[in-house]
């Protein structure tokens, strides 16, 4: 199985990046996880030609070719970082590779709460009609006090959190398989690809 892991920040020091690296290594037998960065993506500004810039196209192709996506998000001011929102806006405005794509949301924070509020926002965002990702329900993986969570070899120190992630990841793998059946012949797919708020408002389609 091929998965894409998106580091939800452009910071050079990131516990979310470390968390994804841990998963890549730890679950290498079950899946191939390719870690993608979003720091090179330019600032989204609703260009009229709706063409994806190079960095967006690269990310989009990787997502399109994958079986599922893992978002690892920090929490900035009770929500997801602007830079992650920026990447998502490009994807929703141009290529829309997330439609019907299985998604797992995880997050790591330095404090105790482990990005609970950012994850709730991300769920709502990914459910927007231009995105329509299939977010795995019932699973909320929050890694608090993440700075002390890994040892020098990148292994997770908190045994309970490591076990919880094992369970969640297995569940995600079966979720990916389940959604294959669900979306095999979805008519919705093409319509969603064309969706735009402007069109809805003008009564042009849908």
């Amino acid at each position: 199985m091929k998965l894409v892991g998106i580091v939800g920040t452009n910071s050079s020091e990131s516990t979310n990046r470390r968390l994804l690296q841990y998963m890549k290594q730890h679950y290498s037998e079950q899946a191939e996880i390719e870690i993608c960065e979003i720091d090179e993506i330019p600032v989204f500004n609703e260009p009229e030609d709706k063409t994806a810039p190079q960095a967006v196209q690269v990310l989009s192709d990787k997502i399109a070719a994958s079986d599922g996506v893992i978002f690892a998000t920090p929490e900035y001011d009770h929500s997801i970082p602007a830079v992650l929102k920026n990447a998502i806006e490009w994807l929703s405005y141009t290529t829309r590779p997330l439609i019907n794509k299985p998604v797992m949301i995880i997050g790591a924070s330095l404090g105790a709460l482990g990005t609970s509020r950012a994850q709730a926002h991300l769920r709502q965002i990914l459910e927007a009609p231009e995105l329509k990702a299939l977010i795995m329900p019932n699973v909320e993986y929050l890694l608090g006090r993440a700075l002390e969570a890994f040892d020098d070899d990148g292994n997770m120190v908190y045994k309970d959190k490591a076990k919880e992630l094992d369970n969640d990841f297995i569940e995600f793998l079966s979720f990916v398989k389940l959604t294959e059946k669900l979306t095999a012949n979805s008519k919705f797919f093409e319509i969603s690809k064309q969706f735009s708020w402007k069109q809805v408002a003008n009564g042009e389609d849908m």
Partner: protein, 807 residues
């Protein structure tokens, strides 16, 4: 009012931009809205700090200087656009301009939703501790189907939408006013020195040294040599930096190092305590807004005014009226000084108006008493005026011998009452009374001040003549609107719409004096900037020193004792700054030993308008034993002395009818205070006495006696000179009161042109003073309602002469 509008997207075409542009135009006569764009804002990146870049600094400084922020957000993918989130992240990282700032959210979208979900996300985001904005609750303005909402000129088409936007905006104007009041910090002074405390490290306590000057935290040194490397290092570096930059203990703890972060804060708090100050004041302050890069800012103007209270704003407004430039420096973030705390009525004899009202019981008696004063006791300067007044009074009494008369007044009565009211002898036997020429200037021009204020935009309630506590006569002109704030609001509006400049958070520190001529002010802003204002004249209008207990105790010659923990009705900003500045230029001081206590203050807060504060003719004051102890219509210091002799704490008694005459309260407020136990209420007098701990029989007798005096219009016990209502209708109330520092009569010596006079009796060129900072007028005791007359009269005089002397 000045607001910043943020267009929540960087897109070329935006209905949210159109909405803000419409608001800018539509509300132009109510507030100035400056629109900021996100186009050039870089993507937030915590590893590449660009807080100092011009664009982020522009947002930072403009938001910090504004009265509030309006954010117009589109909805992208059920949330706010990344571009908007990015600027918020920049403004919550090393900079915190939104902390405590009033924010209004609006939004427009193509579909019917009108950005509903984005607005909810934005609320949550603005609520995050790093942002900590004060978002206006309710009034959710959602503009759905925005592409059909505007006409060709960019105006909203639907009247209903405009009406709703009007009501949201009106609410926001009020909301930002209230939020501004919440942000007023308390002043703090330290015993200067270096204090040794400890910080918390991973390996135990670390030695820390905190250096304090009289008003700043200057240095924090932590010895980390025994500490292992790690995230805590960041806390040991960043937290002290934030504390010093913002002069605050309200700092963001470093994530992952919260214990060490708090350890540093606690250590500094301990040092602050050791320096005799209260660290809670620093914890309530705003977060640091980053180090200030621009360290010196210079201004050039005609008149620079110290203090943005009533006197200062008046001097500035009068300067601008005559076509010159003025800058007002205010050390607090909010303007208004003590004036916003005033009850409202300002004394000015206006017989033409007052004569339309009937006299009330006792007033005739007061006049008779004045006319019967032995002329030998009148000081020579006032004798001619006193004789003339006596003639006026006798004619009035004769004219109305057998009939209900109108309310009498004259400039002479105002003058003589100001003189008599201020005549005092201190503990050392020094006699003092108001300097004749200054008292004449005040009473001759007070009514002009009322008229001038009307020109500026203050509206007065002509339907009643009021008398504040200790005024001795009904001649109060009360503004419509909220108490003293009505004056400040009008003056502020006038200055803002006429290019007057008010620089807040900036304390005047030094006078610039060249060849004996005062030529400006050197000041320091609360974020550490040095502000130099070059001017042709300096007007000191910074108030007295009622909130400076040390200074009060130093000069006091009148009260037998001033407690260390005495409360004050003053703004905490009123610490004698202008008096010290004047002294640095050699100014003479007059009457410094005389301060006034407000006898009827809240025992806990010093506040005036808690409980039931009624016109004095309705006051019934009883001591802790339930007995009356003073003529309630007496002057403030008669009441105070009597209160101190009776153990300070006493009660104002009211019945249901008297309650209706209370100032500045409502039934809801009254009920709340009763519930909190700061006001007592009972259906019977006996019950009330029991609640407060008096002997019921004594108390009931006191009230019955009082009621019988009201019936005959004569008080044989204490000779109360004016009555109105009896205490008879249940429920009954008792408001606890205690004297608190209210006014300092002493100050800089001035002449009738408001020039500050030096110790050689000469004018100090370029230096003027107006209001409570100056002495000589009110002498030993200021009449209630005379301070407002003073500030608006001498504020104008100071500006007039500053400009005249420039020519």
């Amino acid at each position: 009012m000045k607001f910043i509008g943020i267009v929540g997207t960087n897109a070329k075409k935006s209905y949210n931009r159109m909405l803000l542009q419409f608001m800018q135009k539509h509300f132009a006569n109510k507030a100035e809205i400056e629109i900021l764009e996100l186009k050039d804002v870089p993507m937030f990146n915590e590893s590449k700090d660009q807080s100092d870049s011009p664009i982020i600094q522009e947002f930072n400084q403009k938001i910090a200087a504004s009265d509030g922020v309006i954010i117009a957000t589109p909805e992208h993918n059920h949330s706010i656009p990344a571009a908007l989130k990015s600027i918020i992240e920049w403004l919550s990282f090393n900079l915190h301009p939104l902390d405590g700032k009033a924010v209004m959210i609006v939004g427009a979208s193509y579909n019917i939703q009108g950005s509903s979900r984005a607005q909810l996300h934005l609320r949550q985001i603005l609520d995050a501790p790093g942002v900590n904005a004060s978002v206006m609750p309710g009034s959710e303005f959602l503009l759905g189907k925005a592409q059909d909402a505007f006409d060709d000129k960019g105006n909203l088409k639907a009247q209903r939408t405009i009406d709703f936007l009007d009501s949201c905006f009106a609410k926001f104007m009020k909301f930002s006013d209230i939020i501004a009041q919440m942000n007023i910090p308390e002043d703090i002074t330290y015993e200067p020195g270096t204090f040794k405390v400890t910080a918390v490290g991973h390996n135990g306590d670390l030695p820390m040294e905190v250096t304090l000057s009289d008003d700043r935290i200057e240095k924090i040194d932590i010895d980390t040599s025994s500490e292992t490397q790690g995230i805590a290092d960041v806390a040991f570096k960043r937290i002290p930096q934030q504390i010093i930059d913002g002069q605050t203990l309200n700092v963001d703890v470093v994530s992952g190092a919260s214990i060490t972060s708090r350890g540093v804060v606690d250590g500094v708090a301990k040092a602050v305590k050791m320096a005799g100050a209260n660290p809670d004041i620093l914890k309530k302050r705003k977060k640091s807004n980053g180090p200030n890069k621009q360290n010196v800012v210079e201004y050039q103007t005609d008149v620079v005014v110290v203090g943005a209270g009533g006197a200062g704003l008046t001097a500035a407004a009068r300067t601008i009226q005559q076509g010159k430039k003025a800058i007002v420096l205010e050390k607090f973030p909010a303007i208004g000084g003590n004036t916003v705390r005033a009850g409202g009525p300002m004394n000015a004899a206006d017989p033409e108006w007052q004569n339309k009202f009937e006299e009330i019981t006792g007033e005739r008696h007061t006049l008779k008493e004045i006319s019967e004063i032995d002329e030998k006791t009148i000081d020579a300067e006032y004798l001619a005026d006193f004789k003339a007044l006596k003639k006026q009074i006798n004619e009035y009494l004769k004219e109305n011998e057998d009939q209900k008369a109108y309310l009498f007044d004259s400039k002479l009565l105002h003058r003589i009452q100001t003189y008599l009211g201020g005549k005092r002898t201190d503990l050392k036997g020094n006699k003092i009374y108001g300097q004749y020429d200054l008292v004449k200037e005040l009473t001759d021009h007070a009514l002009e001040s009322v008229k001038w204020l009307e020109d500026i935009g203050v509206k007065f309630d002509k339907s009643q003549v009021t008398m504040p506590v200790g005024a001795l006569w009904r001649r109060g002109h009360k503004p419509l609107g909220s108490q003293g704030f009505a004056f400040i609001e009008a003056l502020k509006k006038y200055l803002e719409s006429n290019d007057g400049q008010i620089i807040t958070d900036t304390a005047a520190k030094e006078l610039i004096i060249e060849d004996g001529q005062v030529k400006g002010i050197i000041a320091r802003s609360s974020d550490g900037k040095k502000i130099i204002v070059h001017a042709k004249a300096v007007v000191l209008a910074s108030g007295g020193f009622g909130a400076n207990t040390k200074m009060l105790k130093k000069y006091n010659t009148y009260w037998s004792n001033i407690d260390d923990n005495i409360k004050t009705t003053n703004s905490p900003a009123i610490t004698g700054d202008g008096i010290r500045l004047g002294q640095s230029a050699g100014a003479e001081l007059v009457g410094m030993g005389f301060s006034q206590m407000m006898p009827v203050s809240d025992p806990e807060t010093g506040e005036l308008f808690s409980g039931l504060q009624v016109p004095p003719q309705n006051f019934v004051m009883v001591n802790q034993k339930g007995k009356r102890f003073v003529n309630e219509y007496g002057s403030r210091d008669e009441l105070t002395k009597a209160a101190i002799d009776n153990g300070s704490l006493f009660y104002l008694i009211a019945d249901d009818a008297i309650k209706e005459t209370a100032y500045n309260t409502s039934q809801a407020q009254i009920d709340k205070q009763v519930e909190q136990g700061t006001l007592y209420r009972d259906d019977t007098l006996e019950g009330l006495a029991k609640q407060v701990g008096m002997d019921p029989a004594t108390f009931v007798k006191t009230i019955n006696d009082y009621n019988s005096y009201v019936d005959v219009g004569e008080d044989p016990e204490f000779h109360k000179s004016a009555f109105d209502l009896k205490v008879e209708k249940a429920p009954f109330y008792a408001t606890p009161r205690k004297p608190a520092v209210h006014h300092t009569m002493g100050g800089l010596k001035i002449d009738t042109d408001a020039h500050v006079i030096n110790q050689d009796e000469k004018i100090i060129p370029g230096l003027y003073a107006a209001g409570e900072v100056a002495g000589g007028i009110h002498a030993g005791n200021r009449l209630g309602g005379n301070s407002l007359s003073d500030i608006f009269t001498f504020g104008r005089i100071a500006a007039n002469n500053a400009l005249k002397d420039m020519e």
